[in-house]
Amino acid sequence: MSVDAPIENLPLRQRFTRGLDAPICLTWELTYACNLACVHCLSSSGRRDPLELTPAETLHVVDELADMRVFYVNIGGGEPMLRPDFFDLLSYAVDHKVGVKFSTNGTRLTAERARRLAGMDYVDVQISIDGALASTNDAVRGEGSFAAARTAMDNLAAADFGQFKISVVVTRENVTQLDQFSTIAESYGAQLRLTRLRPSGRGVDAWDALHPTADQQRMLYHWLLERPDVLTGDSFFHLSALGEPLDGLNLCGAGRLVCLIDPVGDVYACPFVIDDEFLAGSVRQEGGFARVWRQSDLFRSLREPQSAGACASCGSYDACQGGCMAAKFFTGLPLDGPDPECVFGHGEDALAARGSGPAPVAAVGHSKVDRRGVPLPVPTPVRFRTPARA
C-alpha cells in the first residue's frame, strides 16, 4: 500500500482490513506516456494511451474524490508532467481540498515550473532516483536520467519549494547506497522515501536480477528501524516478521485502504497489480469511482477475511500478513502463501517448488514498441554485478 502520512494509534488494523467508506489515499497514474523507459516500471509505461481520460474527465474524478473526502492522491504515470493539463488538474485538486503528491522523473521540472509549484499549497513532489550515483541510477532509469533528476532537485531548492521527497526503489544494486541517499536528501533538506521493488509491469523481467538478497533485506530492516523519519509508504511490511514492526499499518491495503486509477480510468486494487485479475471497474462506468470502490465484487472479496494458507502455522503471520499480494501474483505464487521475499526463506522454497510452470511474462502494456509490436529494448544496456543468489 502507499500511505506515507505517519500513522498513529495502530490497533485498528483488523477494522481496516474490512475496508473504509473511501480510500485513505489512492494512486492515480495520469498517463502511460513516458520519456524514460525504466527497466522496473510498474505500469509498463511508454506510449500514451489514446483512450486516456480527457481533461474534463479528470476534473470529474477530482469532484468525486472531494465528495468522498479522499484527503490526497498520489499522482504518477508514466510521467505525469507530460500531460498538457497537468497544472490545471493540480490547481483544481488542491482548490477542492484534495491534496496532491506527485512522482516525477524530473525531466520536465524546469526552474519556471518549480517556482509555480512552490506557490501551491497541498502539493508534495517526489523525484525518483534509483541510484545515489549516476552509474547505478542510469543503469535502471536510462542514460542522463540521474543528471536530469538532480537538476529538478536544484530547481526546487532554488525556488524555495520547501521539503520535497526523493523516492528510491530499493534494489540489489543500490541497497548499499542507503547512507548516500540520506546524504543527498539532507543536502536539499529533502525527505527520503524508500519503496519496495515489485515484480510488476516490466519489473517482472527485472525482479530476479534486481530484488535485494535475503542478507540485504535484513540490513535494510535494521537501517529502517533506526530511521523512522524515512518514508516507506508502508512498503516493507513483509520485513516486520524479523521482529519489531516497522512504522506504519503493516498490512496490505489493496482494495481496503488504497487503490489505483489508471490513465484510462480503470480501477485496480493497488498500484502494483495492473492486471485483469485485479481490475475492479472503471471511473467511466455509471456510478463512477464511488460505486467501484463501494460495490465492486473484487473489492468486496478483498475485504473478506483472507486465508493465511501455507502461512497459517508460521508464528510471524500476524506481523507480515503473508506479505504483498502483487509480489506473489507476479512471481506465480499462490496468494494465500508466503511472499517471494519472505524473511524466513519460505518464499524462495515456494519459488523453487513452482517448478516448470509458465514463468511470469512481462506484459507489453504501454511499453514503446517497434512497427511489428515488439517492445523496444530499454535505452541503456543493464549489467548487473552481483550474482542472482548471494
Binding site: 498513529e8 494509534n9 467508506d21
Partner: protein, 97 residues
C-alpha cells in the same frame, strides 16, 4: 509552500482554554470513529471511537475543553478523554481557538 513542516510545538494541553478542530484538519467519519488529516503537517490520525469524534467535533461549542468534557463524557471516563485530547493537541488535530 508554507511552513507546514515546522516542528510541532510541544505545547502543554491546557483544558481550561477554548479548543476546536484545527482549521487545517479535515475529519472523515468511519465506522470505528473518524480519520483526521492535517493538510499542513500531512499527518493522518485515527479517532478511535465515536464518542471521541463527538467530543472533538463539539469542542467549539464550549468555553473550554473541560466544559466540553463535562458536558459530553461520563465522569469515570473523563481522565482518558482528557489524555486523548492532549494527544490530539500535540498532533495539532485540535488547536486553541
Amino acid at each position: 509552500m508554507t511552513d507546514e513542516r515546522a516542528p510541532v510545538p510541544a505545547l502543554a494541553f491546557d483544558p481550561d482554554l477554548a479548543w476546536g478542530v484545527h482549521p487545517q484538519v479535515a475529519l472523515r467519519d468511519e465506522s470505528f470513529g473518524a480519520l483526521a488529516y492535517h493538510y499542513g503537517t500531512r499527518r493522518l490520525l485515527f479517532l478511535k471511537s465515536r464518542p471521541l469524534v463527538e467530543l472533538v467535533s463539539s469542542l467549539d461549542q464550549y468555553e473550554s475543553a473541560t466544559a466540553a468534557i463535562v458536558a459530553v463524557v461520563p465522569p469515570e471516563q473523563r481522565p482518558a478523554y482528557r489524555r486523548a485530547l492532549a494527544r490530539l493537541a500535540a498532533s495539532e488535530v485540535i488547536g486553541v481557538r
